[in-house]
Symmetry: C2
Subunit: 329 residues, 2 copies
C-alpha cells in the first residue's frame, strides 16, 4: 500500500489558554519560566483565576506540528483524545479545518478536554501549565493501525509518555508503523518529561525510534551529560536520524553520524516561543516526506519555527507554503 | 449613595470565534461584509465547519466597552447571561480578570453560552455571525437594581433589543438608573438592529436615553435620512448628549445641540475593526465619569478605538491608561 499521508501524529489534544503576564507573576506563583508542567484540576482553577484575560486557540505539541505540515501543503492525520465539550469541538474544528484527518471521535465519558494555561512573558518565553484532562485518557483503542499505516512517518509526542495507557497507544502506533514498513519519529518534548521517564525514553529511542527530535537540554538529560555534542553522539549510536534544535543557534541534523549544521532563520522580533520545536519538526518532516535533502528539510524547519515565534500562539498565522516556496523551486 | 462604579453595562455575553477569510469566502456564503447578523444553531454549525482555524476570545459589545473602561483605570460592572459551560467560564474569567464586577451567576439551564463567528478579511473588515444562545435569555430577573444604582452611567447595548425578555431587562435597568439619579446611555450597535426595531429605538432614545452612541449609518437609519448631520439634528432634539462616530473621520459630540468635531487617532495599520465603536464608548465614558470635558472624552474614545483596530480582537491588548496618560496630565 502506498502512503497517502505524509505524517500521522500521536499526541495530546489540547486547547491553549494564553495570557501575557509579568515576571513577578511567574515568580510569585513559584513557576519555572520556560518549563512545561502538569497540573491538577484544583491548581488549574486557581492559576486560571489569577491569570489575566486569555486567548484560546488549539494547541498540543504534535497537533501543532500537523497544523504546520498542512500549512506547508502536506497531508497528515492526528490521533488524540478530546471530550464532547466546547473545547473539544474547538480542537477538532481547528485541526480539521486545515485539512488534517482526525478520526478519533470525542469521548462521551471521562475528563473534560485538556488545556494548557500558557503564560507568555515580555521576553517571549512561555511557561506552560497543562491540565491534560481527556488527552491523558488516550489509549491503544484510540489507535487505528490501518490509519497509522497510511503515513510515511508516525510522529510520537514525548509528553504522552506521562500516562501508562498513552504509552500503550504509543507502542501500538509504533508497531503498526513498522509493520507497514514506515518510519517512527519521536520528539522528546520537554526536559522534565525526559527526566521523569529516563529509562523508558532511552529504551524507546534505541529500540523503536527512527527519527529523534530534541533540543540540547533534552538530549543532555537523556544521556546524562552537560555536553550537547556528546549527547548527540550517544543518540547517533542508537538512532538513524537525530535532529537536535538549538534555539537561536539553529539545528544539527545527524544521519548515521554524519552531522550537518543549519542556521536559524532570522526573526525581526520574537514574540512568543510557544510552538518553536513543534513547527521545526513540521518543516523538517515536510521536507523529508517530499524527497528533499536533509539540509533543505532543516531549512524548512527553521522557516516554519521562525514564523511561529514571531506572533502569539503555537500554530502558523501565515501560509507556510508561501514562505517556503523560494526554497523549493 | 455615591456611585462607586463608573459604568454598568447591560449586554450580550459572547465569546468571539475569529478567523481570517478571503472576500470569496464571504461572498460565496452570501454574507454581507461589515454587517452583524443573528444566526440559528444549524447555520452556526455549518458556518463554523466552513471557517478556518479560529481564535477564541471574549467579546460582546458592552462587555468590550467595560473591558476598555477597566484598561483605562475605570471601575465597572457587567450584566449579561452565560451558561455554566466552558465558553461561559471563559467569558466570566476574562471580564472579572480585568476587574469588572460580573454578579450574574451562570445559568444552569437553557441555551449554551453565545458566540459570535467573526470573519476578518484582509481589509480589516469584520463580518459577524452571532448565535446569541444564553445571552438572549437575559431577563429582568438578571438585573439587580441596587447594582445598577451603584454606577454613574448605565450603558445599554442595542443588540439586546432583539429579544423581548432582554428588552424588559433594559427597561428595568434604565428605571433603576434613573431612580437613583444616574444617567442612561445606549449604543445603537448595528444598522440591522436599528432597522428591525425602528419605532422602539426611537421611543427609547426620546424617552429614556441620556447619552446616545451611534455611527452615521445607524443614526441615518434611525431618522430615515441620507444626511448624517440631519440625523444628528433629529437626535439632538430628543437626547441631551449624542455621540456620532464616523470611522476614519473621527466623531461629532453634541451636547444640547452644541456640536464638537474630534479627529480620529491615526493608526499605522488597521488590522481588524471589530470593537472600534465599543472602545470609543469606553474612552468617552471614562472621560465623562472622571470629570473630563467633552473634547478630552472624545479624544480618549479615539485613542481607545485606535488601539483596538490595530490588532485582531475586540478588547485592548495594551494598557489603555498608558496610552491616555499624556492627555490626562
Amino acid at each position: 500500500m502506498t502512503a497517502d499521508l505524509d505524517v500521522v501524529g500521536v499526541g495530546n489534544a489540547l486547547v491553549d489558554v494564553i495570557s501575557m503576564e509579568s515576571d513577578e507573576f511567574i515568580e510569585g506563583r513559584g513557576l519555572v519560566k520556560g518549563s512545561m508542567r502538569l497540573i491538577e484540576p484544583d491548581e488549574a482553577v486557581a492559576l486560571y483565576d489569577a491569570m489575566g484575560p486569555g486567548v484560546e486557540m488549539s494547541g498540543g505539541s504534535a497537533a501543532n506540528t500537523l497544523a504546520g505540515l498542512a500549512s506547508l501543503g502536506g497531508r497528515g492525520g492526528f490521533i488524540g483524545r478530546v471530550r464532547d465539550d466546547q473545547l473539544g469541538t474547538v480542537f477538532a474544528h481547528d485541526i480539521r479545518s486545515v485539512g488534517i484527518e482526525f478520526p478519533v471521535p470525542p469521548a462521551t465519558t471521562g475528563s473534560p478536554t485538556g488545556r494548557s494555561l500558557i503564560i507568555v512573558s515580555s521576553d517571549a518565553e512561555r511557561t506552560m501549565n497543562t491540565l491534560l484532562g481527556a488527552a491523558a485518557e488516550l489509549g491503544p483503542d484510540d489507535v487505528d493501525a490501518a490509519f497509522v499505516a497510511r503515513a510515511q512517518v508516525t510522529y510520537l509526542e514525548g509528553y504522552l509518555f506521562d500516562r501508562e495507557l498513552a504509552g500503550q497507544a504509543f507502542e501500538k502506533a509504533a508497531a503498526a508503523a513498522h509493520n507497514a514498513g514506515r518510519l517512527v519519529a519521536l520528539t522528546l518534548s520537554d526536559s522534565f518529561c525526559v527526566e521523569r521517564f529516563l529509562t523508558a525514553f532511552r529504551g524507546l529511542v534505541s529500540d523503536v525510534v527512527d527519527i529523534l527530535f530534541g533540543n540540547e537540554d533534552e538530549l543532555c538529560l537523556l544521556y546524562e551529560t552537560d555536553d550537547a555534542m556528546e549527547a548527540l553522539g550517544h543518540a547517533e549510536r542508537v538512532c538513524d536520524l537525530v535532529v537536535m534544535t538549538r534555539s537561536a543557534d539553529g539545528s544539527v541534523v545527524s544521519k548515521r553520524g554524519q552531522r550537518l549544521e543549519v542556521a536559524a532563520e532570522p526573526v525581526p522580533r520574537v514574540v512568543d516561543t510557544t510552538g518553536a520545536g513543534d513547527l521545526y519538526a513540521a518543516g523538517f518532516l515536510y521536507g523529508l516526506t517530499h524527497g528533499h535533502d536533509l539540509a533543505t528539510s532543516a531549512r524548512l524547519g527553521s522557516i516554519a519555527a521562525a514564523e511561529v515565534i514571531s506572533h502569539v500562539g503555537a500554530r502558523p498565522e501565515t501560509v507556510l507554503a508561501g514562505l517556503a516556496a523560494p526554497l523549493l523551486v
